[in-house]
Symmetry: C2
Subunit: 133 residues, 2 copies
DNA sequence: CAGAATCCTTATCGATACTG
DNA sequence: CAGTATCGATAAGGATTCTG
């Protein structure tokens, strides 16, 4: 409660990706989550925001190869899903900080489990692909 | 060691998806794994195979909306990554069984963690998207 | 049964240029 | 600084037809 920021979500439609078709049944919630975070940049952003809050260009500089457009889209998606909070400080020039919500923080745990698995078995997977890929 | 099957991987190129560009750095192994299993059908297949072995058409019937083409591609990718094993029984008509490898089985654990998270927070996410989606 | 081949639609992503 | 707008390339996914 100390800042002068306006914690307003960026409701503007922009060109957000689909909110995940979710069409039909989708009996598997895991699939839905994976479709959300399984894209090219989302986890990278989550991991960075898991350490501390970041400003837009800070994220942009930290993640090599990430375009401005994709960073915006990624952040908007995360915001829409309630995983990331956006704080706008109406200064000149504007300053925007992104951080994880409690929901976003809670995702770090299962994500770490997957990270551990990935690190532990990366060699096995690449070996398998070496044989047949 | 009891069957008469030939446990031959289907090395035929077919029209497999990219083995994940993996181009450049890719400092994050989590991202790589998520790109592999984050597609539309992979986890569904893994979960089913986690219960028991399945035949091709058995999987096809079990997963509504999954086309033959995508099932083949999904299985080939999983096979290439060493997560799924393919056993061909040279009968007439042919019979092919798919099952998880030990590596595939080991993925079930972190996947379950993510599944639990997804189930626990599905309502929060849809609530967030209800507000802004 | 278990696929391969082909065609076509749509979604995803990146590059570039512009703005309050 | 923190975006938006537009465009083009490519990848993912689906439908259909055919085969050993």
């Amino acid at each position: 409660m100390s800042g002068t920021h306006t914690d307003v979500p960026s409701v503007v439609a922009a060109d957000l990706p689909r909110p995940v078709p979710a069409s039909e049944h989708d009996a598997c919630p895991v699939s839905e989550v994976l479709r959300r975070i399984g894209d090219k940049w989302t986890v990278l952003v989550i991991v960075l925001l898991g350490k501390r809050k970041h400003r837009f260009n800070e994220l942009h500089r930290s993640i090599e190869g990430l375009s401005q457009r994709m960073l915006t889209r990624t952040l908007r998606s995360l915001e829409r899903d309630g995983l990331v909070a956006r704080e706008v400080y109406p200064t000149i020039p504007p300053s925007v900080e992104y951080g994880l919500t409690p929901l976003g923080e809670s995702l770090l745990t299962p994500l770490s489990a997957l990270a551990d698995w990935a690190v532990a078995h990366a060699d096995e997977m690449s070996a398998a692909r070496g044989r047949a890929g």
